[in-house]
């Protein structure tokens, strides 16, 4: 009965468990003997040994080879004495030995098991006897043609042709495994006896994992007749004999059934190994039973080894060529990045090269701030969503998939543009990615039978049966892009390293810039420190000596001379004051803020007190409004009020009465203070100059000053995170205001 619902897994796991290396029997094309290496006492023997040589069964086990088969022993003892490496099978020689049915020809093959020397005598079929001489032309032709083959496909076809020519099988397939161990038939040579399997894919379950391991180890297997009757191995020991490396090993009944289902009565397969890994098989089939002598099999194995070396060389050359091409793309991208101030623009502005690097049709450059989609990509919103998913699920350096929707189901809706995704994370601190997209490549896969229904079982029985249909079964694969190949992945990885390198270097540059800034600040500090000493002193001396001259020698000097001296004194004094002001201005910028809660009302009162002397005789009306406490540097804020109030006093000098108003109000999150006067005002056209260093809007003889006060006010307020501004009109007074953020405003 057929179990339609049986799953692939049942087949796989059941077959995977079958102990095919210890079948306990051999195929009936010769005899197998196992013996202790030390004394060549026979420990295992196929039961046909006695019959073949006309002996009693009881005389075989427990006796030495010499006792049982003296002629064989005599011929082979020198060879058997040489220990073999475990796992390597050695063809010794062809022997003609007398048997119960006359003299027969055997190929003697020996290998070492765990603690046994295993000798196989495979009977050479007389009708197909060949010698190395007859095989040589084929091998030579093959090697010559290999050099000329232009493609991997042609190489495979040649291998299939020549193996068939040497062996006489009806159909020879070259079969390559994909990463999931499904086998794809990539080349075929056949006659009309068996159907073509070219282009078909066979599910991984057809060759279970322990069979693949065996194939890796023992490169060539043959089953001359799927209907053979196995010959059991007998032993005095309960331990089964490991036949992994035996040429006559009997195969799994499931496999024989599989062969019969396929319509093949004989089969041979040769492993194609690449770097010790099973890359594929050359698989030979025949509609009728077929013996292939050991010499021919060895020639096929040799041919296959040459073939796989050639395959490897070609693939390496192709990879190298591809790497060179991608290397030059990468070099151009690097050049573009180096040419830009913002290096990432080197990528954004050269989307075609960026896409070529990964063989992609679209690319996105994205971080929290910006998203650049170039070429064929999902919509920006979809890319943003993908970016967030990547940031949380795949912070690793690189993420690669051909089927994005397997990882991220939302991507199914845009599989046609982005089934394949290759992305690199540039920074972990601030998630930023470059993501390449590949569209869905709709594939039609022709399976050699429905891969989803491979198993048949008998009710109540544990024995498995392989599928019995090899009718082509087509499947359309969706949501999958073509594969990202290793050179593309490496190129992208290198681009990432380059970008990370640039980012790191930029960070270092920033750090060294900051250090330089710090150093030049220090220098500036030292400079102004020495200026404060060295430049001030000469002015002081000029004033000092001029005063002494006037005081002590004044009687000898004319009135004009005294006026000159006064001017010298005044000028030097002004210059000294300028130095003082400039230094205080520079200190305002350098000195650390020491904010604390301060009451502004007493500050203003104190300033008015200080100005009393200057304002003596003048009529000034003070209007003092609400002056709330603030959080600020007391010394600096005092300077601000001092400047603004003394300016108001100065520029109202022509007014009677002068009206000076101080007050505050709240605006948004700020406290605004203002000082308003009814003085001479200013032209709003020059308002921009008011707060500049040494900018004056009045002539010296009108209003004295160095033009540093308001520059200081602005610097102090800006350092507190506030703003200063002024409004005025000529002869209509002025209002100076400053705001301080509420965050540091009154508690």
């Amino acid at each position: 009965m057929t179990l339609e619902t049986a799953s692939r897994d049942l087949d796989l796991t059941a077959c995977d468990r079958e102990p095919i290396h210890i079948p306990g029997s051999i195929q009936p094309y010769g005899i197998l003997l196992a013996m202790r290496p030390s004394d060549l006492v026979l420990t295992y023997a196929s039961v046909n040994t006695a019959e073949t040589f006309g002996l009693e069964r009881q005389v075989v086990l427990g006796r030495t080879l010499r006792e049982v088969l003296p002629k064989v022993a005599r011929l082979l003892e020198p060879d058997l004495a040489q220990p073999e490496e475990r796992g390597s099978t050695r063809f010794l020689r062809t022997l003609a030995i007398g048997t119960a049915r006359g003299e027969r020809v055997f190929d003697a093959i020996v290998h070492n098991g765990a603690d046994q020397t295993i000798l196989e005598l495979e009977e050479t079929p007389s009708e197909v006897a060949t010698t190395l001489d007859t095989l040589y032309p084929t091998l030579r032709r093959f090697v010559e043609q290999l050099q000329a083959a232009s493609s991997v496909e042609e190489l495979c076809r040649l291998a299939a042709e020549d193996v068939r020519r040497m062996t006489g099988f009806d159909r020879v397939l070259v079969y390559e495994f994909d990463p999931e161990w499904n086998g794809n038939v990539i080349a075929e040579d056949r006659n009309d006896v068996l159907p073509s399997y070219r282009g078909l894919r066979f599910p991984a379950s057809d060759i279970p994992s322990q069979a693949r391991e065996l194939y890796r180890r023992n490169r060539l297997r043959i089953i001359p007749d799927a209907n053979y009757t196995a010959v059991p191995i007998e032993s005095l020991s309960p331990e089964p004999l490991d036949l992994s490396d035996a040429v006559l090993r009997s195969v799994s009944p499931v496999h024989l059934e599989y062969m019969r289902n396929m319509g093949t009565m004989a089969s041979m397969s040769i492993s194609i190994l690449r770097n010790g890994r099973l890359w594929g098989l050359i698989s030979c089939h025949s509609g009728e039973p077929r013996r292939v002598p050991l010499s021919v099999r060895n020639a096929c194995d040799f041919l296959t080894q040459i073939f796989s070396l050639q395959l490897e060389a070609r693939e390496r050359a192709a990879i190298a060529e591809n790497r060179m091409r991608l290397g030059s793309v990468q070099a151009r991208l690097l050049g573009h990045m180096a040419a830009e101030d913002v290096f990432i623009n080197g990528l954004v502005n050269n989307p075609f090269e960026l896409m070529e690097l990964a063989g992609a049709q679209g690319v996105a450059i994205i971080d929290a701030e910006r998203c650049q989609c170039l070429g064929h990509t999902p919509t920006e919103d979809q890319v943003q969503a993908l970016f967030h998913w990547l940031s949380s699920e795949h912070p690793e350096d690189m993420f690669v998939t051909e089927v994005l929707s397997d990882h991220y189901p939302e991507a199914a809706s845009y599989a046609s543009v982005a089934s394949g995704v290759l992305s690199i994370a540039i920074s972990k601190m601030h998630p930023s990615y470059v993501i390449w997209f590949r569209p869905e490549a709709v594939q039609t896969v022709s399976w050699g039978g429905d891969p989803h229904k491979p198993v048949h079982g008998e009710v109540g029985a544990t024995r498995l049966h392989p599928r019995n249909s090899f009718e082509i079964w087509k499947e359309t694969v969706r949501g999958r892009s073509s594969s990202w190949n290793p050179s593309e992945i490496d190129a992208v990885k290198e681009l990432r390293n380059t970008i990370v390198g640039i980012v790191l270097r930029r960070a270092e540059e920033m750090a060294s810039l900051a250090e330089e800034l710090h150093r030049s600040n220090k220098e500036l500090e030292a400079f102004s420190y020495s200026v404060s000493h060295d430049l001030r002193a000469p002015f002081r001396h000029v004033v000092g000596y001029a005063e002494l001259l006037k005081k002590q020698e004044g009687s000898h000097i004319t009135d004009r001379g005294r006026r000159y001296i006064d001017t010298i004194i005044e000028s030097a004094f002004t210059a000294g004051t300028l130095v003082d002001n400039l230094l205080s201005f520079s200190q305002m910028g350098r000195t650390a803020l020491k904010p604390r809660l301060i009451h502004t009302q007493p500050i203003v009162d104190e300033i008015r007190q200080k100005l009393l002397l200057e304002t003596e005789g003048r009529h000034i009306v003070w209007k003092i409004g609400d002056l709330p406490p603030i959080q600020a540097d007391p010394f600096m804020i005092q300077l601000v009020f001092e400047n603004l109030v003394s300016n108001a006093v100065k520029y109202t000098r022509p007014r009677d009465p002068a009206v000076i108003e101080l007050g505050s109000y709240r605006k948004d999150d700020n406290v605004v203070f203002f000082v308003r006067d009814n003085g001479v005002g200013f032209d709003m056209a020059y308002v921009g100059k008011l707060f500049g260093v040494f900018q004056r809007l009045h002539r010296m003889e009108e209003f004295e000053g160095t033009g540093i006060g308001l520059a200081n006010v602005r610097r102090i307020i800006e350092r507190h995170g506030g703003k200063v501004w002024a409004e005025g009109a000529i002869d209509r007074g002025a209002t100076f205001s400053f705001s301080l953020p509420n965050a540091i405003g009154a508690a």
Partner: protein, 150 residues
């Protein structure tokens, strides 16, 4: 009548020395004014070392100490004196061109008695020097402890 203590002026700039001496002269102070030209000399004087090993003047009523000096600068002299239990009562007035806040802060940390920025205006400078001379030379009563050791 106790002997008038001298005023020690530590100043490297000869013009400043002349101007300061003129100012002190005109304030009619009877105190002797001793001028030394760098920090090392100042320390020698205070500690009666080197050329001052045998001086027989009293310790100064006040040290008018310039901040920027050759060899040993003013802040070092100040620190030396103010960290010495025997000497720390000697009044020291920093007299400097600098209005640099860091100097001011440092000087007060070290225990300076006054910090005077030399005014550019001569009249102000004169007044400042004369006031200092009069205050520290005549009016200030030194602590009794210093009297005993002085």
């Amino acid at each position: 009548m106790p002997e008038l203590k001298p005023i020690l002026l530590v100043e490297d700039n000869p013009k400043d020395v002349e101007l300061a001496l003129t100012a002190l002269e005109q304030s009619q102070l009877a105190n002797e004014v001793v001028v030394v030209r760098d920090g090392a000399e100042a320390i020698d004087f205070l500690y009666r070392r080197g050329v001052y090993e045998t001086r027989n003047t009293a310790d100064p009523a006040v040290v008018l100490l310039d901040l920027k000096l050759p060899k040993v600068d003013g802040l070092e002299v100040l620190q030396r004196v103010k960290t010495d239990p025997e000497m720390r009562h000697t009044p020291i007035v920093m007299l400097t061109s600098s209005r640099e806040e860091s100097d001011l802060v440092r000087s007060y940390e070290l225990g300076v008695n006054a910090f005077v920025v030399k005014p550019v205006g001569f009249r102000e400078f004169f007044e400042a020097i004369q006031d200092l001379g009069v205050f520290w030379g005549i009016l200030n009563e030194p602590p009794p402890h210093r009297d005993r050791t002085g």
